[in-house]
């Protein structure tokens, strides 16, 4: 791996082929996470709170279903939309959990992870110059995806005072006559913030008034610890305006299988399918088979994982607060987002020194948007033993300041 990095650097220095790279791509800043990742890679004995995926391995029954599908020779393309059985299961799940109807035949699209679904959504609705409001801190790929689709991402800061929830007022202030869409991603990576139904209803009013589309990434929807998640398209009048993105990575620990889906009105899903059929053709069939098994029989294991996350969540939030790193209570996902402002350091300084001096990796908050500055993203998708050890090391680090 290290060698690869070196090779890549060498290549860059030669600068021969650089001229071929499109401006649009060149102008996209590299992910701040990448830089940090390279640093961590060079060290041994690091406890990582920097991981955005479950530490559980995919439950065995799901892996087993994947293996079985391979043995049976299911290695072909599927329909562009994905296996009908999977779409039907997803549609049933929307009905059961949120009372929203999606026709499995043309309103559900299986994608290669939620990342692809997000990319498709942006490409399907953005005209050149259209603005898309992206509340921050947020997952790192929305803004670049909007840019690549020819749109203008408009970051919108959320605040600790409001527990990093975006408000209808803030959205309204960011709207111009070019605003086309709004991104919502709750439960949120990196803050762990969730939105209540009343918050979403206020936002729905603004969305209606200004005739916006909404891309709602709900991949952490099963990971809530204080009441159930509300799906944005279940809010009255929002179904036609909303593209719901979701997947199996977080709920069923299936990140590397790359399997997600989008649900929306026939017109929008149709448009997304057009892009998808040329770019991706279909999601990998093995992962689709695994997803079917996850949907049919995965609830028990999933709930067990969620209960375990909840225990770790309390452990880390309590620990960080005790150490004087103020941490509001994250009610979803598997991240704590403590403030390091009391130390007088920037998040990058803090994360860098914590890594170097105590070998604990946590991602600086500003990687997820300017308003994340002064915070750290600590993933608690790691074993309790490691969490306790990490807290001990953070304490030792704070003692040296």
């Amino acid at each position: 791996m290290k060698k690869n990095v070196q090779n890549a650097l060498l290549y860059r220095r030669e600068g021969m082929a650089g001229k071929f790279v499109a401006e649009k791509v060149r102008n996209i800043p590299p992910s701040g996470i990448r830089k940090f990742f390279d640093l961590v890679l060079e060290m041994d004995g690091v406890i990582s709170l920097g991981v955005g995926e479950p530490d559980f391995i995919t439950p065995w029954h799901i892996r087993e279903a994947c293996i079985y599908s391979l043995e049976k020779g299911f290695t072909s393309y599927t329909s562009n939309l994905g296996l009908l059985e999977l779409r039907e299961l997803i549609s049933k799940c929307f009905r059961k959990d949120y009372c929203v109807e999606y026709n499995p035949k043309n309103e559900v699209l299986i994608t290669t992870g939620v990342s692809e679904a997000a990319d498709l959504a942006f490409r399907a609705i953005i005209n050149p110059g259209d603005e898309v409001i992206v509340p921050e801190p947020s997952y790192v790929s929305y803004k670049p995806s909007v840019s690549l689709a020819g749109g203008e991402p408009v970051p919108l800061a959320t605040t600790l005072e409001n527990e990093f929830r975006v408000t209808a007022d803030d959205i309204e202030k960011s709207i111009t006559d070019k605003t086309k869409a709004l991104v919502l991603s709750y439960p949120n990576n990196p803050t762990g913030a969730v939105m209540g139904k009343n918050n979403l209803e206020e936002i729905a009013d603004v969305v209606n008034e200004y005739d916006l589309a909404v891309i709602s990434d709900e991949v952490y929807c099963k990971l809530t610890y204080n009441g159930n998640h509300t799906c944005f398209s279940s809010i009255s009048g929002m179904r036609e305006r909303t593209i719901v993105l979701n997947g199996f990575s977080k709920s069923h620990a299936m990140t590397g299988l790359r399997i997600g889906y989008a649900a929306g009105s026939e017109e929008i899903i149709g448009a997304m399918t057009k892009v998808h059929q040329y770019a991706m053709l279909c999601a990998p069939i093995t992962a689709q088979m695994g997803a079917i098994e996850a949907m049919k029989n995965g609830d028990g294991e999933m709930k067990k994982m969620v209960r375990e996350y909840d225990r770790r969540r309390r452990l880390i939030v309590d620990g960080l607060n005790r150490l004087g790193l103020d941490c509001f209570e994250p009610k979803g996902a598997f991240y704590a987002f403590p403030s390091v402002k009391s130390t007088g350091m920037t998040s990058e300084e803090f994360a860098g020194r914590l890594l170097k001096e105590q070998k604990v990796a946590a991602v600086p908050g500003d990687v997820f948007g300017d308003c994340g500055a002064g915070h750290l993203r600590c993933s608690y998708a790691t074993s309790r033993e490691e969490l306790v050890e990490a807290l001990g090391r953070i304490e030792a680090f704070l003692d040296t300041l």
Partner: protein
């Protein structure tokens, strides 16, 4: 209550402070709940799963199937209770199928186990017959897989 049990099931050594943080209950409440469950026999005992083979101990395990003839209106419970009192017998279960009881017996040699069955179990009045299966290797014990632990090969940092 179930929450505490779920935590303890996989790690009885965990401190009440930690359980209290994880569940949001007070420490005192956690401690008294555990006491209560111990008293009621919901928590039977705190046990360690040991890979004896790895520790270099040559224990021999056998699964003994026992065919029982019920006499004098004494049910299975009475014979099971008798058998269970032998310390060599590690578990006793009433099972469906060809046989009635299934025992796990531990000894230090095959001979010892075989003679134990021949001398202590087979001659019992209600026992009609026994079948002994020696255990060659244990792959999973009490939910604990004894192979090399599966590790998630995650990247150290990811978005």
């Amino acid at each position: 209550m179930k929450e505490i049990l779920e935590i303890l099931e996989n790690n009885p050594k965990i401190k009440p402070e930690e359980i209290s943080t994880m569940t949001g209950m007070t420490q005192a409440a956690v401690a008294s709940k555990i006491k209560e469950m111990e008293k009621k026999g919901i928590i039977r005992k705190y046990k360690t799963v040991i890979d004896w083979e790895k520790a270099g101990e040559e224990y021999v395990y056998a699964i003994i199937e026992v065919k029982v003839a019920l006499r004098d209106r004494k049910g299975y419970d009475s014979i099971a209770e008798r058998v269970a009192k032998f310390p060599e017998v590690r578990s006793v279960r009433l099972i469906s199928g060809d046989h009635d009881l299934s025992l796990t017996v531990r000894g230090t040699s095959m001979k010892e186990v075989a003679f134990f069955v021949a001398e202590k179990i087979a001659p019992l009045e209600q026992v009609q017959g026994t079948v002994t299966h020696f255990v060659l290797r244990t792959y999973k014990e009490d939910g604990e897989i004894l192979f090399e632990k599966e590790r998630s090969e995650r990247l150290a940092v990811s978005p």
